[in-house]
Structures are given as C-alpha cells and as structure tokens.
Symmetry: D2
Subunit: 163 residues, 4 copies
C-alpha cells in the first residue's frame, strides 16, 4: 500500500529564524518525521506550497484538488495549516474523488520539540490506510469527516459542527 | 468513542537511572504523550505491569487477555515490549474477543527524545478507532494482523511472516 | 559562593502561543534550566521584567543597575535580550560597581529545544564565579568586557568592537 | 584564545542501540554540542578513547597526561566518565603542567535530551578560559580543584572532600 503526502505548509513546518526572531518556512520536516517514526510505509512526498493557511487562496485549493485527482495514489495525506483546514477539506470533499484523503497539521511547529505534529502524522497515516474513500481531518487523535468539522479557535482544538 | 489503554511496559516506558547508569521502569509516560499530542479522544489508562517483554510469562498474558475481556470498552490499545509482542498478539487473537485490540510499542524509550513512541501511539489510536474487531500490531506506521506478523530482530522492524 | 540571577526577558525566555501563533513571555525557565544542568551552585533568581530588549528603556536599565547595586550578592548574572545587551552592559559597566556582573541570553528560545540558552547559562555561571569585578557579556562561549562588545546583527553572533 | 578538547568517552557520549537495547559508544557529540551552543571559541577536538571511565586503566591515564603535555594548547577540556573523574584529575594535577585543564562529563547521555552535558560543557569552556594554570573538575555548575573533589555516588553529584 503506497501513500502520497502533499505538503502545503502550516504551523507544522514552521521554523524559528534566529536572526530576525520570526517564524518562517524552510523545507518540510516530513522526511525527518517519518524517519523518527521508523515508518516503513511506502510514502512519496510532494511539496505543493509552503504557506500559512490564512494566506491560502481558492486557486491554491484548486491546485491541491488537481494534484489529489491526478496522482496515481488513491490514499493521500495533506499537511495543512489549521486555520483554514476545514475550508480545504470541504473543497476536496465536494469533489467526491474515489480516494481516501486525510488532512492533518499541528498547533506547534515540529521543530519546537513539544509538537503535536509527530503524533498527528501518526494518526493521519493510520487513518489513510484504514478508512474508506472520503475526505477526513485528523486532529487531536480523532478523525472528522469533511462536512462535520471546525476548528474551535479559542480552545485550539477541532470538533464536530454540532459540538 | 472511548478507548482503553493497557500499559505493560516495554522499551516505550523505560527511563535512564543516572545513579546506576541503567535503564529502568518508573511510571508510564502515556498521560504525557497524550497531552503532547493534544489528544481529545476519551482514553482511560490502566497500568497492568511494567516489565521487559522478554520477561513476560504465560500468566502475564492471561492477565492481559482477562483484562481485555472484562473491561467495558470494545476498543483497546496495549503498550508492549517489541521482543515478544507477536506472542501476546497471538494469544489475544486466538481468544477471538468481539473487540478491536491494537498492540504497539517503541524501539527507543520515549524519554530519550528521538523516540518512535509518540508516532506509534498516534497510529495505534487511529487504527483502534477505525478497524473492525480483531487483534492487530501497529508498528512502523503499518498495521499487521495478529496471525501474520513478526519482529525482524536484525533490522529492528516488523514485517509479515511471508515477507 | 552565592550567585544572584536577574531575569529581564529576551529570546531566552520566549514561548510559542499555540492559539495566536505568536511568541510571548510567560514565566522564566531559569529554574528548569538549572535543574537540567544539575546545578549545585547557590542561586537566587529575581524576575525584574519580562520584555524584548528592543523595548527596554533607560528607566528599565536604571532599575537593573539599582538592583545590581542594592543586592547583597557580589556575583550576578543578568539574562537579557541580545539586541540591546551591549547597551545595558555599558550602563552597568560605567557604574563601576565592586561586583562581577555577567550578561547572557540566547538566539533561540530555550523551549524550542535547539537552544543555545542552556549552554550560555553554563558559561555565564562559570564566568561569574571565576572573573574579577567588572561587567561582561557571555555569548558564543566567549566572555567580552562591557566596553568592547557588539552584536553582529547579520551573523547573529557577538564580537569585539575592533573585530 | 584556542582550546583543545580531549574526548575520552563517559556517559556524556553514550547512545542507545535500538537493536540490542543497550547503551554504547559511537562517535563523540562534541561538534554537535558546540554548534548548538553557537560556540565561536576556536576549539580543536581529539578523540583519545571512547570508554566507560570504570574501565579506564593507568595506561589510559598516562596517555591522557601525555597528550595534555605534548599538545600546543595551554587550555584543555577533557570529557570523562564521572565514576573515576577524580582519579584522572589527580593524576593530571600531580604532574603540575603549566596549563589549565578542566575535566567535565555528564550524568545523562547528551542524546537523551534531558542531559546536563550541554550545560556542563558551557561551564567547562568558560572555566578553562578564565582560570589560572591548574587542574579542575567542572560539574554541577561548580569548579573543584583536583586535590579536593569526589563524586558522591549516592547523590550523583560532585563535592569537596571535606563536605
């Protein structure tokens, strides 16, 4: 079973620039994360963009959808900023591809040590291998369907729409 | 959906004793791991034993099976040393409980920073929520069924029996 | 021999706020750092302020000088943001107190794991115990005198004025 | 000012072998530690041996003394296991070289994340630059002279002989 990971940026991949004192994007930490997890699943990684999800445009989302649709794999993980993860999930979900797509991200940059990114990537890789076709959000150890998820901005956690 | 985690020890939970220079068991790091992962799944943790899996006896395995059988939850994660994880998986699998049971562990102690434990726990929690009744081993990002898994001791990874 | 540590903030003590995605100050990590270093030196810690050193005013510097002057200890470490560390060092140096005062800080927040803060605090504590009265900056493993140090902003390292 | 670091092994440099589950020596982490500390001191590193200090022989100590004596640098840091650090310090101290030699080590391996090694190396590098000729042990943030130091084995800390 082979899995495609599409990288779009988000807190997950942010780093600290010690000269400017600001957070920025360099390259993705996915290979390091999969190595740390001794992951033996066949995974191919494509970096589509490296942006904060608040800056993601409709055009960016079309590009993600296009890539999900065109690639050979039927199981995909999309790493994504948490702020608009639900928007992208909806766009992908409405397209009704015959694929299993799991979006995930992190509340704390992976490089800051106390990150949820390693844990979340574990859940995303497991859900993408075990769930039927559909679009899901894997955050906080849970799996949400694309049409029933939102980020609770004050708590910093994901929940069902009717929670 | 509520998940029971049964802790049995293994490399996962080992610590370094700076006085003796040896590895030892203190208490489980599961609560810390779930907090780090911002896990919002309802999880109850029971420490059954804290042992190296090379020292696990048939009697210990009966105790694990007994606990899996008796508890109210139908979804269980069992943390376990990797050396005899396949033996315990077989014992639990042959019992054919109407529950989903996922065994997991780590090759490096969680406390040593470069651990696969956080990642593996993510995969185990995801598999236990998404898979049908049965007994599984979640290691290296993969999910193995109890009757088709072994540890490759020279590589330190898990594989199918016919690999 | 007892050492006073005056905390003023700086990158050293910054944390990541996972709700806002911004860096902020909570309380100092000094006690945690000294514990990690198994430090057995008698140290008393006073948090004077928790600010970015770019925001430090002359009035703040008078307060630091006043505290250095009034306290019973003759050996002091001052944690400080790196951007204006040389300015505060000069103010303290010109006062010619009969004390040994060492300023130090970090380029990366201690909480981000890959921090120079733990190392720098080690050097500062050693220099403060071994150097004669005077005001010094301990950064990059080196010890600079207050009247011959500046931050090289493009490199992010400290150097002599005539370097 | 240039500093020579002689590596002899000790807990400082131990790693965890995930196949055997035992601690072992690979190569020294000194370059990584100095990089993490953004150290700008001119340091040259020589690995003399990679052993547990309980296994260190008189012959090994002669080799360390010989190297201290022969090298061009007059300021040396020796990384060493804590169990017999006081014995090597005494051998070096009795030789009365016209050099400043600081022995240091760690109670927890650097690679295990919660190590005192990074902090101790900071103190050792600072003491070696600021102290007069002599042989010292830098542990627990303190600096001991070679003829007045011992490891308190039950506490895991260093202290004066008359403590």
């Amino acid at each position: 079973m082979s899995v495609k990971v599409l990288v779009t940026g988000g807190t997950f991949d942010k780093e600290y620039d010690e000269i400017t004192g600001k957070l920025y994007f360099n390259s993705t930490h996915l290979p390091e994360i999969l190595k740390l997890g001794r992951c033996a699943v066949t995974v191919s990684i494509d970096t589509l963009m490296m942006i904060d999800s608040l800056e993601m445009t409709d055009r960016d989302r079309e590009r993600i959808l296009d890539e999900c649709s065109r690639c050979a794999e039927t199981r995909l993980v999309v790493t994504h900023g948490t702020d608009t993860m639900e928007v992208t999930a909806r766009r992908l979900g409405e397209a009704k591809l015959k694929k299993t797509i799991v979006l995930t991200g992190a509340m704390v940059p992976y490089k800051f040590g106390s990150s949820d990114g390693l844990f979340n990537m574990g859940t995303a890789l497991a859900f993408v291998q075990s769930l039927p076709h559909g679009v899901y959000v894997a955050m906080n150890g849970k799996c949400f369907t694309w049409d029933n998820v939102r980020k609770n901005r004050s708590k910093g956690t994901f929940e069902e729409l009717d929670a």
